[in-house]
């Protein structure tokens, strides 16, 4: 990264920070359910700081990767063995894969295919859908960084550099792993809530979770009750 700061770097930084603040704006507008549930559930309480913290980490990872990969840069062989770079690079690749999948699914959603249910939930805007699925993005980031670092360590390729960039990259990687752990724990708490409702003796309130991984999706669906006016009044959602 030993080169001058150029106009294109500034443009990329502005673009990334614009994306970050747009994300925050969407979160502030549609994340009402999170804040409401935070009073009663630990899982949602953890979601609030994570919801704001993870996009910042993502922008940090993308920015560092950009600066690392801009020419003139070191060869891949030297870059990959730096744990800071490998963490930021893996997160960036993962983010791009997710963006591609999301765009592909948006395209598929426009096809005139009947899913078989008339009253299926539709999240009205792509921002809603992006917000709802971003939890998976964040959760997998920590897992991927952990896997990449384990590989580097076990293959004898862990060669940290005493540079600001690599140290910052390692800090970001460690923060991703911590976030993954917290999300994993809070996810179980979400499920506890669902199962506790299942266990009511009179059967008056059942979990809305169904199918494989339903609990997890249920937890996500609770992220934004404001976009689910039908769900908010549904018996199954009462506490």
């Amino acid at each position: 990264m030993g080169r001058k700061f150029q106009l294109v770097d500034l443009m990329v930084l502005v673009l990334l920070f614009a994306g970050l603040f747009t994300w925050y704006r969407i979160l502030a507008q549609h994340g009402v359910g999170v804040r409401l549930y935070a009073f009663v559930r630990l899982g949602s309480l953890i979601w609030v700081p994570l919801g704001y913290h993870c996009p910042a980490l993502l922008v940090g990872s993308l920015t560092l990767t950009w600066f690392w990969l801009r020419p003139p840069r070191a060869c891949w062989r030297k870059l990959i063995v730096q744990p800071g770079f490998s963490a930021c690079f893996l997160v960036s690749v993962w983010f791009l894969v997710r963006v591609v999948l999301f765009v592909a699914s948006e395209g598929l959603g426009r096809l005139p295919i009947d899913h078989g249910f008339d009253a299926r939930i539709h999240f009205s805007t792509w921002q809603h859908r992006w917000l709802l699925t971003s939890a998976y993005l964040f959760e997998a980031c920590g897992l991927i960084v952990l896997g990449g670092w384990s590989l580097l360590g076990m293959a004898g390729l862990w060669r940290p550099l005493a540079t600001v960039a690599d140290r910052l990259g390692r800090m970001i990687g460690a923060a991703w792993i911590l976030g993954w752990w917290v999300l994993l724990v809070s996810d179980y708490q979400e499920k506890e809530w669902g199962h506790a409702h299942d266990a009511k003796a009179d059967g008056s309130c059942r979990s809305v979770c169904a199918g494989s991984g339903g609990d997890r999706w249920c937890g996500l669906a609770l992220l934004d009750l404001s976009c689910l006016p039908q769900a908010a009044g549904h018996e199954s959602w009462r506490l």
Binding site: R77, S105, G211, S212
Partner: protein, 209 residues
Amino acid sequence: MTCRQMDRMDKIVLALAEVVTLTWVVWVVPGAIGESIPRTGNSRGESILPWYNMPGVIGGYVSIFLVPWLLVLSLVIFGLRLRAPRPRWRRLCRQPGFVACGMISAGLGLFLLIWLLHQGLARTPWGQLSPYYVLFWQFRAPFGPVYGQELIVLTFGLGLAVLGAWALLFLGGFWRAERSWLDRAGRILGAGWIMFDVLRSLLFYWGLS
């Protein structure tokens, strides 16, 4: 010579793995599906399936049938690769097949470690006060939820962890594929995990749109 042929022990272990997987699919999976069906209605007996996205549900059921095969075979290939004769550890960690199966095994081991930690804490007198008891209470029943949906849900992201590890190996020039049945099988499984994860994610996103 570290690249070995399939011997009698390998065949026995693979046959056992097939039996375990078939048992899982035939005996446990219908139970897991049945477990989820009664929970798809409210107290008035109305179906709440409309609340779900159909492609996502299809992805879930595809997972129920695919994960046992991928998971058991990954663990078995990982274990067989560790049998002697084998390359040095550092060289082994540059073989894509071993890395793929190692990632899956390590991920699963990590989740089971958390579960065991909870089991241990829950048995102590102060266990019920511990945060682990509160946070992991539903794992109290031995293998109850774990065999069904939980284990399948926990595999989210593992395929993409394999993709990340392969990207590091390939771009760094450390990709040392071996011409042996073990490494080939590992590579096929790794590719299977990646495709499965991508398909599952795509179906889930599609269902929301």
